[in-house]
Amino acid sequence: MAFVAIADRDAPIHDPHTFIERYIWSQDHKVIAIQYALVAIFVGLVALVLSGLMRLQLGFPEQFHFVDPNSYYQFVTMHGMIMVIYLLTALFLGGFGNYLIPLMCGARDMVFPYMNMLSFWVYLLAVIVLLASFFVPGGPTGAGWTLYPPQAISAGTPGAGWGIILMLGSLALFIVAFTMGGLNYVTTVLQARCRGMTLMRMPLSVWGIFVATILGLLAFPALFVSAVMMTLDGTLGTSFFMPALSSMGQAPEHNGGSPLLFQHLFWFFGHPEVYIVALPAFGIVSDLLSTHARKNIFGYRMMVWAILAIGGLSFVVWAHHMYVSGMNPYFGFFFATTTLIIAVPTAIKVYNWVLTLWRGNIHLTVPMLFAIGFIFTFIHGGLTGLFLGNVTVDLPLSDTYFVVGHFHMVMGVSPILVVFGAIYHWYPKITGRMYNEKLGKAHFWLTFLGTYAIYLPMHYLGILGVPRRYYALGDTDFLPQSVHTVNAAITIAALVVAGSVLIFLYNMIASLKNGKKAPSNPWKATTLEWQTPDTPPKHGNWGPRLPEVHRWAYDYSVPGAPDDFIPQNVPVDPKLGVGRDHGKKH
């Protein structure tokens, strides 16, 4: 077997000898995962500060003079792009994907470790180029995170010179980095699983990351294409996207380009991107719920099929982001229909999560709190998605705060809750230390209630017609005074939630030194990463022999078993049988 050749050989793979090989130019998937995660969290904190600055302006207009209209748009743009691409995508796939795939599949490392290392360094370069745009003349681009032409590269938009070019260059680098990492993730899942780990025995975390990576590999090229063409429009003066625009009586610099073409390309990437972030979250949250409810996941096969169905459907819904851009009404009908169809597999997942909790032995640990919080925010964001997926309802709500509330709930807060839950869940394995449970719970409640205080009122603002993307609302007749009061309240809530991140950071950093030593399997989980001989796992993960898998990942509370969990690598006891069917047999 080919996989045995990679996985079971005696000599350690790319064995590091020096400090630099071990921690800097490391080819170990665990080190690369931590490098990815630390950079992603750092750049995410930058984006968090930017959102705080935006909220200061929106909540208390005219009070903070360091936020002018230009910088406001720059903050909006950088906040959105960083959060979606450089934080969430990088953290879920580069961070958790790198850490979990080899460990959960029973492999020693990724199959192309050198390319994996390059992936991180190119990602870091992409982040540096992105952040460099804060320091160039004109500052970063302020075109909005969708970077629509013509305004993105037209004079008058902040950062229309250097800022946008650096942004596009950084995105192209990110895509190269992602492709190198992504090829690793899919190949490792397909080729380097240990003996007995069939696809249908893989934990749902791996399924989510696997399918999300395939989506990324097919969808990111669309962003690459648009970035290349827009760079050429901005630098060489081509007219792919730029129409003829005449300003102050001067001859137009471009002729006949199609801005709508950019929107199609952008959203052909942009919508799958939602699921590139969501599918790993779906997978991870399934494992958190099952482990901490001590119950097998409800409907495992349905969960896998739903992940595949959502992945496939996510490629045929992109134009629902463009209802107001103008399109053939039949297209609108088509995209509204596909958008609503995607709710079916998504709803199956939500039902299965709830049914997993049903009569489970629920342990309200910190990761479990975040996982349950995710179910709330995801249902909330998903339901408002049904409103916006319908063309006729979308038209009046488009470009209002309803949309801001919707997408933050569904693809901002929900995945971030899973990120926090996942960090709290795997922290003992990654660091070998336990964290402070009380601080973790304080962090959860501040984040969960705080985000509701931020985004729930935004839906009301949207229904009142408050437009998004405005630097200041000013005094207008159609907006009652309460709008301004609500805006101030949202800002206060946002600052509290941002502050709660400090609790998280303190807990994570302080526990590295002061935390109790973690046992190798503190949550009594079944999946392979908790069965490593060392905690944290050493280079090569498994010691001399690879694990062998004998059962699926969800043997919790098996009747008759001595413990309420049976790890995947425990052979089947003929007297006990396996899994949930055992109860029926006896």
């Binding site: 080919a2 696809l199 249908m200 025995r201 792919f240 052909f268 045929v316 699926w552």
Partner: protein, 218 residues
């Protein structure tokens, strides 16, 4: 976006095949089944190459979709005058692909020297193709003036450069394999590299035929 839609349909077909082939209907909770060994038997490099080719297919499908949409939805389009040189270039790339296939098959039969010669010939033909493409730029529109003035010419540059860069990536692997030949590596150890090179060259030939076809007929 019709090209891309076709590609995605094909990709979905692959997924459906995958679902059937991998028996995603198995009931993992019900215990062990015969032959439960897990992973796919292909070597990692081959799986990686096929996924990479899927990424490149997506990239070129999207560029060709953009070409078609820019033609139909934008203004100021004038069709490209296809230089005859491109036909010769196509033949040269076809010959490179055939040479790579020979290099791979001869390696399979253990004929080391013949395989190496075919590999070098494939590399030289590829360099000739790239030089031909640069000459084609001269024929299509040799300056920034043309690139700015005609989106079709701008597309021609972008598509040929992108395709050329992928070939240059292939040449990097080809040079490394040639170096291993020179260093006296056993033919049996080179078979996989040669086979993957051949696959990649056939793929890039197909990509070029798709690009050339769109330029000719759309």
């Amino acid at each position: 976006m019709s090209n891309t839609a076709i590609f995605i349909a094909l990709a979905t077909g692959v997924v459906v095949w995958f679902v059937v082939a991998s028996r995603l209907t198995a009931k993992p909770w019900a215990g062990e089944t015969a032959g439960d060994v897990g992973a796919v038997r292909w070597p990692a490099a081959r799986i990686g190459l096929w996924f990479f080719m899927a990424v490149v297919t997506s990239l070129f499908s999207l560029f060709l979709s953009a070409y078609s949409m820019r033609m139909h939805h934008g203004l100021g389009w004038c069709h490209l005058t296809i230089p005859n040189l491109l036909w010769y270039n196509t033949l040269v790339l076809l010959a490179a692909s055939v040479a790579m296939q020979f290099a791979s098959s001869l390696a399979g039969r253990g004929r080391r020297d013949a395989s190496r010669n075919a590999l070098v010939a494939g590399g030289l033909l590829t360099v000739a193709f790239l030089a031909g493409q640069v000459m084609a730029w001269q024929a299509v529109g040799p300056s920034l003036y043309f690139i700015q003035g005609s989106p079709a010419i701008a597309f021609f540059y972008v598509l040929t450069i992108l395709h050329g860069l992928h070939l240059i990536g292939g040449l990097y692997v080809l040079v490394r394999t040639t170096t291993r030949f020179a260093a006296g590596a056993e033919i049996i150890d080179l078979r996989q590299s040669l086979s993957l090179c051949a696959t990649y060259w056939h793929f890039l030939l197909l990509v070029w035929l798709a690009v050339f076809g769109v330029l000719l007929f759309l």
